[in-house]
């Protein structure tokens, strides 16, 4: 399992310096560490987080937005009609609730269809794994820089250490 502070260091290592989002249990450890380091600005909705990240990018920052995959629904309009058409990139750290149908009912539809949804709106994505974290971060940096689009890094339960055991 990846330690939250190692993961954050990895993200900072490839340039990310502005973090916002809406919490999820899977993201709890990362958010706790970011908050401790005074790097995290909480948002109230995922589309607001994306707007803040876009403003930060225009101001010279390299932004990342954390969200539960249910928040992807809230985020879609800003992803489509701001990020994608204006070529304003950001990293989307999306927790994969409902993976393989093992979760509460409210997560099952998005859990099953999230990758198709991302493909449909042409958001490149990859699933983080502890064995491939170096390659995952390299891919993230490269895609962000070359394509100037939102880039999805999907986080399944148990890949990055969170608050609850």
């Amino acid at each position: 399992m990846i330690e939250a502070d190692d993961f954050v260091k990895g993200l900072q290592g490839i340039g990310f310096d502005f973090f916002t989002g809406v919490p999820d249990t899977i993201l709890g450890g990362i958010i706790a560490h970011l908050t401790e380091e005074r790097l995290y600005t909480p948002a109230v909705r995922e589309d607001e987080a994306l707007a803040m990240a876009a403003g930060a990018y225009l101001g010279g920052k390299i932004p990342a937005v954390l969200m539960q995959n249910s928040g992807l629904g809230n985020a879609l309009n800003v992803l489509d009609s701001l990020n994608l058409i204006y070529q304003i990139p950001c990293l989307l750290l999306i927790s994969w609730r409902g993976f393989e149908g093992k979760d509460a009912p409210e997560h099952l539809v998005m859990g099953e269809t999230m990758t198709q949804l991302l493909d449909m709106v042409r958001i490149p994505h990859r699933t983080l794994a502890s064995e491939t974290i170096v390659e995952d971060l390299q891919w993230t940096a490269k895609t962000f820089k070359e394509q100037r689009v939102p880039v999805g890094l999907l986080l399944k339960k148990g890949v990055v250490k969170t608050l609850q055991p």
């Binding site: 502005f18 916002t20 948002a43 707007a51 803040m52 403003g55 930060a56 225009l58 010279g60 701001l82």
Partner: protein
């Protein structure tokens, strides 16, 4: 209209022009629809970021920019429909209290770009909501000299500031933004690098 209050109400373009007169090189985020087209016609500048979609995201973009560039005073030109769509952002701004953010809302009480369908700002006071959310300076104006005076004061004060400008429904004839969205990003980001 504005009920018991007196005074001459401006069109949004007239109110914008009054504010442009006292602005210098402050970065400006302008909401989608006619406000961006009117601002582009009145005073196009590299520090203007015109939105052509993503309604509701305007103040969030201004907030992110204000946090990223604390040495610059960021101005947002917003509309009542936009603010109502993302009321949560009033809370985020009120809680984070960026000192360098001036949120101007041109409130014509309608969705003007789509045919003047009424918004709830006719009955819900957006200035009161901003005050309750924690904006430091909140003013409600409609006459030209008050618009200029309050905006000038906000430029000198520590924010976040919220200027509710009650305007009439009149639209200014204005073309669509000629630059493409990627060109707008590049131009604005370039202007922010200085």
């Amino acid at each position: 209209m504005i009920g018991p209050e007196e005074g001459v109400m401006q069109s949004r373009a007239q109110a914008m022009a009054a504010i442009f007169e006292v602005m210098t090189d402050q970065p400006l985020i302008i909401c989608n629809g006619f406000p961006s087209r009117e601002a582009c016609k009145l005073r196009d500048r590299d520090q203007n970021f015109y939105m052509i979609g993503s309604m509701g995201a305007t103040a969030g973009i201004g907030l992110g920019l204000a946090l990223a560039q604390p040495q610059k005073t960021v101005v947002v030109f917003d509309g009542d429909g936009n603010v109502l769509m993302s009321l949560g952002t009033l809370a985020t701004i009120g809680a984070l209290k960026p000192k360098n953010l001036i949120h101007v809302v041109f409130d014509n009480e309608v969705y003007g770009t789509t045919g003047n369908q009424p918004t709830y700002s006719r009955v819900v006071g957006l200035d009161k909501m901003a005050k309750a959310a924690g904006y430091v300076n909140v003013e409600r104006v409609w006459e030209r000299e008050d618009i200029v005076y309050e905006f000038k004061t906000m430029l000198g004060d520590q924010g976040p500031s919220f200027l509710l400008v009650k305007v009439n429904e009149q639209l200014e004839e204005a073309d669509r933004i000629a630059l493409t969205p990627p060109e707008l990003t590049k131009r604005f980001k370039g202007a922010m690098a200085f």
